[in-house]
Structure formats: C-alpha cells, structure tokens
C-alpha cells in the first residue's frame, strides 16, 4: 500500500497541476470581471485580457452612486434573509411532523409537498400576481417574501424530511419518556440537530432568492423597492456599453453573497449527503 502510494505520487502531482490550470481557465470570466472593473475605457479597448495598469477604483465609486448601492443591498438582504429564515423554520416544523408521526395523512402530505417541485413559477404567474394585487401587496417587499416562502416549501420539506427520517429513534423515545411534549421535542431536540440541513438550505435558498429576477421585475415597480437583480437590469440598460462601470457594479453585488457562502461552505456537503441522498 505504502509503496503503491509513493509510486503514484508523481502522477498525482501532474494531475494536480492539470486541475489547477483547468480551474483557472474555468474562472477566467471571473478574472475578466475583476480586471475590467478596474480599467479605464481606453484600456479596455487596447486589450481586454491584460491586467489593469493602475487599479482604477473610480469605477466602483461611480457604480456605487449610480446604483444607489447601499439601499438596494439592504432591500435584497431584507427580502432574502426573511424569506430564507421563514422557509427553514416553517419547513422544519412540518417536516418533523411528516417524518415522525406516521399516518396516512402525513404520507399523503409528503407527496403533496414533493409534487410542488414540479410546478414552475411561470405556470402560476398570472394568478399569483392577481393574489398579490388582491392582498394589496403589489410593489411591496412583504408580498415577495410571502411568495418565496410558499415557493420554497417543496424542496425544503423534501430535504428536511429525508434528514429527520435518518435520526436514531432512541433520542426521541428518551425525550418522550422524560416527559417532553411534542413542542419540547421539536424545539429542544430536533431543531438543534437540524443544523447541517439548515445550513445547506440556507445557502441554496439564499442564492436562489438573492439572484431571482423574474418575480421582482413583475412585483416591484418603484425603484425605492428595487432588489439587486433589478438594479443590475436597470444598470445594464444604462451602462451596457460601459463594461468597466457595469462590471464594478456586478462585483459589488457578488461580494456579500460570496462571503456568506465562504463562511458556510463546509456545512453544505454534509447537509446534502444527509438529506437528499440518504432520504
């Protein structure tokens, strides 16, 4: 075995080099965004690929002011964080019941929720907008949040039920013998152990809602309420030819989400393997 490993090492090193080059090529468009965002227009014309000569941060200042960045960013955070926390909490409550109270109704509910994965938002757009209109929630962030929570249920329930089904029975039986009520079981035992699945749902749904374009463009009209994708859309209309400023704007939009992801990364794989693949 040991000899085997030593013999293989040069091959592995070569392969590692290949993968590093592969990943760099893969990330090349990303390099272009970063470098273009720091160039002046003449520099872009001269060579799109070269590194910027000086780090021209003025583009970022221009993009910051033109897009009303802090305000738009705050809107996006409010909408996506509220929706995601809502999805996770409400779906875990339901998943606990579906996974642990085995009866016909709950078996039906599992498939009832699961089938929602197949319903595309385009199919329900017209009635959905009608509903928001009737609730006086058009052009308002709460309207968007409610829709996201509803739309997020199927996948969240699917993932969480799979995870809870894998729990050892003994833990919950011990809780019941100690006199825990159903609520106690949920809040004190189940919810704390859902951390890995919550982390993957959190990042997955956050990326989805943060980046969603269709619902905001249809629901929000007043630029006061704009989220990040809407401002990018408006931005492209205005600066579509000024790639340096547009790309500076995109960079600023990416950074918060990328940072959140980097902080949660290690939970993601754990959560998926426990929820989607074993369940």
């Amino acid at each position: 075995m040991l000899a085997d490993r030593i013999r293989r090492k040069p091959g592995l090193k070569l392969f590692e080099l290949f993968m590093i080059i592969f990943t760099l090529v893969y990330c090349f468009p990303f390099y272009l965004i970063v470098s273009t965002s720091m160039k002046t227009p003449p520099e872009i014309l001269m060579s799109t690929l070269a590194l910027p000569k000086t780090f021209h941060l003025q583009n970022y200042i221009d993009a910051w002011e033109a897009s009303n960045f802090p305000h738009v960013q705050l809107n996006t955070m409010i909408v996506s964080l509220t929706s995601v926390i809502g999805i996770i909490l409400i779906a875990s409550m339901a998943s606990f019941t579906i996974a642990k109270q085995a009866n016909g109704l709950n078996r039906f509910l599992y498939y009832f929720f699961l089938s929602g994965v197949m319903i595309p938002v385009y199919t329900v757009l017209v009635p959905l907008l009608q509903l928001l209109n009737n609730l006086r929630l058009m052009d308002a962030m709460p309207g968007l949040i409610l829709v996201y929570i509803g739309q997020g249920m199927p996948f969240a329930v699917f993932l969480t039920v799979g995870f809870i089904r894998g729990f050892p029975k003994e833990i919950m039986e011990a809780g019941t013998i100690d006199g825990c009520s159903v609520y106690d079981l949920f809040w004190k035992i189940v919810l704390p152990s859902l951390k890995p699945i919550m982390a993957s749902l959190f990042i997955l749904d956050l990326i989805w809602i943060w980046n969603d374009f269709l619902l905001p463009v249809l629901v929000l009209q007043n630029s006061e309420h704009f989220t990040i994708t809407l401002s990018q859309y408006a931005f492209y209309g205005e600066y579509g030819t000024k790639w340096n400023i547009a790309f500076a704007g995109y960079m600023m939009a990416i950074i918060p989400l990328a940072l959140i992801y980097a902080g949660l990364q290690k939970f993601v794989v754990k959560g998926i393997s426990a929820g989607a693949l074993k369940g």
Partner: protein
C-alpha cells in the same frame, strides 16, 4: 384514569403535531396550489391580464396551442437547451467531483473557486457571457481559425442556443459538483481501498465502483438539472432575448412574452400549463428509469 390520561396525552400530541404542520400547508397552498388551480381557470379564458373583463372560452387556448408553430418551435428550442445542459453539466460536474475528491493539496481551494461562480445571478451570467462571446472568445476564435466563434456565436441561428446552454452550465456546474461530492462521501472507503489492493486501475474503479455507487446522486442531479433547464429564463433573457430570429426562444420566454408583452394572459397561462405537463412527464419518466437503475445496482 390511566387510559383517559393516555388518550388525553395522545390527543394533545396530535394537536401539537398538526399545529406544526399548519403554517407550511397554508403557505404552500396559498402561493403554489391555489395559484395552480387559478392557472387552470385562467387558461380557459381570453383575459388580457389588465382589464376586469374576460370570457370563459373553454379549451380554445389549448386548441390554439396545437396549431401555434411558434409554441412548437419554443418547445423544440427548450428541449435542445435542456438536454444539452443536463448531459454536459452532469458530465462536467462528475469529472470535477471525482477529480477534486482525490488527495490533492489544493482541492478545497479549487472547489471553492468553482462553487463561488454559482453565487453569480443567472442575469449577470448572461451579461458576462454576452461580453465573453462578443470580445475575448471572438479574438480566440479568429486566432484558432474557428469560424463559428470568430463571428459572435450568439448571432448564429443553429449555435446560439448551445452558447446559452454553455453559459448556464458554467454558472451551475459547481452546484451539481457539490451534490456529486456529497455522494462520493457516502461510498465506503474500504471498498475502494480493497479494489486498489487488488490492482484495479483508476478507470475500472471509476466504472465499476464509483459510478454505480453514485446512483442516488446521479438520479438527484439528472432530475434537478433537467428541471432547471426546462425552467431556465434569466440567462437567455439577458444573453440573447430569444434571438437571433427565434432560435433561442425557450418556452419560459414565450410565456413571459405572451402574458406581459402581448397582453394575452389567458393564452400565456395555457402555455404555462403545457410547460407544467411537460415537466411532470419528463420527471416521472426519469424517476422511473433512474430508480430502476439504482435498484439494479443495490
């Protein structure tokens, strides 16, 4: 006494269990199921989506769909796009997952770099690739003498749809890779090691151990990527807007156009129901086929 206490307890349990269920059921019904029923209703009307008045016209919209060449064209474009995304995204992601599961020193860094791209919005992805295709890749195409690339590929009727698929795959492959990586973690290490001791080479290991044992991850990924492909909208909206001609007009784009551009909410919703039915059929076929494959393996 004891029995009444027990039934009491059971009753209380049942109430508490149900109360935990209720919010999810309410949200899901209000914002998914009831709108779906509403969609069936609106698809039977001639509503324009704005004014109050509309008529029930029965199945006329659906009859219109059947003879609408544009709708059939968007269906074809959607299938091309979806199949390309499903096949190549899974192939790429599987390669990346297996490669970055080896004991490489830089594997965590490389995984992170590839996954960070998933945090880009599909809209920005469209904008970035419209830049990529119009400038750097055209230069590369000219340099290598590849005609399709040398003239902006997004202007080419047969290839633009695959160029759009490529942009979408580039953005989302990291996510598919993560699911494959999760699948690889479940494979028992001693099985792989035993094979190494027996002198099985890397390719045989991949073919007869890794891929069969990855069956659950493959099922999840194929179903998910296929479904995302059918539902994709933002990338193409930003990248080509459906052009050149109608060559990249996918079904989601046509629903958006009918409903909000041409003010035919009833007809647009009928196209939406068509997409829904398409997704059901494709998902059920895939699940049946892929689950059977999983059982064969185990």
């Amino acid at each position: 006494m004891l029995t009444s206490k027990l039934t009491n307890r059971r009753f209380k349990d049942r109430v508490q269990f149900s109360s935990l269920l209720l919010p999810a059921v309410i949200f899901y019904c209000a914002f998914v199921i009831v709108p779906l029923l509403g969609a069936f209703f609106y698809s039977a009307t001639d509503w324009d989506g704005k004014t109050g008045g509309f008529h029930l016209i029965g199945l006329k919209n659906y009859a219109g769909l059947m003879s609408d060449a544009y709708v059939w064209h968007t269906l074809g474009a959607t299938m091309k796009y979806t199949v390309a995304v499903t096949v190549f995204q899974n192939a790429l992601a599987l390669f990346l997952a297996v490669a970055l599961d080896q004991s490489l020193k830089t594997k965590h860094l490389l995984r992170t770099l590839i996954f960070i791209i998933c945090t880009l919005s599909p809209l920005i992805t469209g904008y970035i690739w419209s830049f990529m295709y119009s400038d750097p890749l055209m230069t590369l195409g000219r340099f290598l003498g590849i005609d399709v690339l040398a003239n902006n590929i997004l202007g080419s009727r047969p290839f633009a749809i695959y160029a759009a698929a490529f942009a979408s795959i580039w953005r989302s492959a990291g996510w598919t890779m993560v699911i494959y990586l999760a699948g690889l973690q479940i494979i028992p290490k001693d099985l792989v090691e035993a094979a190494s001791v027996d002198g099985v080479n890397a390719w045989q290991k991949l073919r007869s151990i890794t891929i069969p044992l990855l069956a659950p991850a493959i099922t999840v990924n194929i179903v998910l990527t296929f479904e995302r492909g059918l539902k994709d909208f933002d990338t193409i909206f930003a990248l080509t807007g459906g052009g050149p001609g109608d060559s990249t007009s996918i079904i989601a784009l046509s629903i958006y156009r009918e409903t909000f551009f041409f003010s035919r909410a009833g007809y647009g919703t009928a196209v939406g129901i068509l997409l829904f039915i398409l997704i059901i059929i494709c998902t059920l076929i895939q699940l049946k086929f892929l689950r059977r494959r999983e059982e064969d393996v185990s």
